[in-house]
């Protein structure tokens, strides 16, 4: 242990209770609590998660130190054990570091540049299916709608068409049970006896049956497919061994979780912000129409040149980041500036707090799709950062852009209630819009969209 005498103390957040500390407040109102922690204590704020002392680190300097620290010092697996029952023992944070590294390499195959170039067209075709039957106008719950849509688009792009068209209601329900098994109480003990965790475990077991059956029938069929399931089936570890069916199931769930959450929430927030800011609508639709006029099928490169839509998505990710408790366990004493964070504690970053620092984001509460990106690469961290940054970040942006290029070329959107009634809620450690997330869609009346064929 490093002697703490020479270091400056880290301020403690007020209001901790005997025994449970700040845990209940964190579980009940995590975002409000973390904002309060920063307002009270500044760059470093310590709080007590029922015995697990945690230090919130705020701002680009702190983010950089956090992300550049080696895994042997600030460890992700120890901090994210709540994901082990979801993905399964022996997968990702439930595996030895050397195995996890090899599994990451396997997952990465689906996000290689040569695969990404085909994904925009797949998303556009899914949106075409999605809007079939919409008619000229109507009202939809777009949080639910985007959850369904992005489950299909993510699955179709990342796991392939065979898997996509096996996506039955049962599969979607099981997936939701897994999601509900991730709540703030899982941070402390993901194995406790409670109904949502039992359902999570039952869903994981049933998914393994379904995926194992898919693998078996594919092996018997003897036909090679160009998708991730095939990559999982063919992959070998460095010692020559193959992934077990249990591991393949975990890899599928892991990939779906990673590709789905951020995209569905970001799509919902982007749509809400588009509807909240009608002053940009003409410019936004002109941008999308111009892109469609230039390109047949949307290409990866073309989707890079839509600055206003990209600005909407980036601002949605800045003000409503889906993941707000990016955590590591301190395995070796960690010194930041003149402070010592001792081994055994957790460190945490909260994008929702950091993304509102006025030094990096002037007038931070204002939604401004034309806001320049901060030069400091550690200022905006909706996907984390460093070696463990969400490697699907480029895919997520591509997917959301492709969804909106397709939607905005056909429809316009309006809120169905007062703008402030669409609130932020965070029931399962993921920030999302409150229910119901109703918006009215109306077919564009300017005639332009019908001149163009959807891909």
């Amino acid at each position: 242990m490093t002697s703490s005498a020479a270091f400056k103390p880290i301020p403690m957040v007020s209001g901790g209770r005997a025994g449970t500390g700040h845990f209940e407040e964190f579980v009940t109102t995590p975002i409000e609590f973390l904002h309060r922690a920063y307002a009270e204590c500044g760059e470093l704020a310590e709080f007590d998660m029922g015995g697990l002392h945690t230090v919130l680190m705020v701002g680009p300097d702190a983010h950089e130190a956090f992300f550049r620290a080696p895994d042997e010092q600030l460890n992700a697996a120890a901090a994210y054990q709540m994901m082990v029952p979801v993905f399964g023992e022996g997968v990702q944070y439930g595996a030895e570091p050397g195995i996890e590294r090899q599994q990451l390499r396997i997952q990465y195959q689906g996000l290689k540049h040569d695969r990404m170039i085909n994904y925009a067209g797949v998303v556009a075709r899914e949106v075409e299916d999605f809007i079939q039957g919409w008619g000229d106008e109507g009202v939809l719950d777009f949080y639910q709608a985007f959850t369904d849509l992005t489950l299909k688009t993510s699955t179709h792009c990342l796991l392939g068409s065979e898997f996509r068209y096996r996506l039955t209601d049962e599969f979607a329900d099981l997936y939701r049970d897994l999601e509900k098994g991730i709540d703030p109480s899982a941070l402390l003990d993901p194995t406790q006896q409670k109904e949502s965790f039992q359902k999570r475990d039952q869903a994981r077991a049933r998914l393994e049956e379904l995926i194992t059956e898919a693998v078996r029938s594919r092996r018997e069929g003897g036909v090679e497919h160009n998708d991730m399931l095939q990559i999982y089936m063919d992959a070998t570890y460095e010692d020559g061994s193959k992934l077990t069916d249990h591991e393949i199931t975990g890899m599928v769930i892991w990939f779906m979780f990673a590709g789905h959450h951020t995209s569905s929430n970001t799509s919902a927030w982007t749509l809400l912000e588009i509807a909240r800011h009608p002053q940009y609508l003409a410019e936004l639709t002109a941008e999308v129409d111009r892109l469609h006029a230039q390109e047949g099928e949307l290409s990866l490169k073309a989707l890079r040149e839509i600055p206003l839509l990209e600005g909407f998505i980036r601002e949605a990710l800045r003000l409503h980041p889906p993941l707000n408790a990016i955590s590591r366990r301190v395995l070796k004493d960690f010194i930041y500036k003149e402070h010592l964070i001792e081994a055994g504690k957790n460190v945490m970053l909260c994008p929702h707090v950091s993304h509102q620092l006025p030094e990096y984001f002037p007038d931070p509460a204002r939604f401004d799709p034309k806001r320049p990106q901060p030069e400091n690469v550690f200022a905006a961290i909706p996907f984390g950062g460093g070696k463990r940054k969400c490697v699907g970040n480029a895919f997520a942006l591509l997917q959301v852009k492709a969804i909106f290029c397709a939607l905005l070329s056909r429809y316009q959107f309006e809120l169905c209630a007062e703008p402030e009634s669409y609130r932020e809620v965070m029931p399962a450690l993921i920030l999302r819009p409150s229910d119901p997330c109703l918006l009215r869609y109306r077919r564009r009346g300017d005639g332009k969209p019908d001149e163009r064929k959807m891909p």
Partner: protein, 73 residues
């Protein structure tokens, strides 16, 4: 004519391959010991006629891992 060189922050690079796609004479993504492949620099300094491509690679890198550094004449 001014020259430049490029730097890759290896703590940030996850081998997305956008740089190699934009500027294949400057960048190559290779497998190493880390979980993800990483970009390597093939030439230094960057010739004048490749400079615009180097800047494009830096601009579109999803992780902001590339910096273009101008060299004094």
């Amino acid at each position: 004519m001014s020259q430049c060189r490029v730097e890759i922050d290896k703590d940030l690079c996850q081998g997305h391959g956008v740089c190699e796609s934009e500027a294949p004479r400057i960048f190559k993504v290779t497998e190493g010991d880390s979980a993800y492949p990483q970009a390597q620099i093939l030439i230094e300094p960057i010739p004048e006629n490749q400079k615009a491509l180097a800047k494009k690679a830096a601009r579109y890198c999803p992780n902001g891992a590339i910096t273009v550094v101008e060299l004094d004449e």
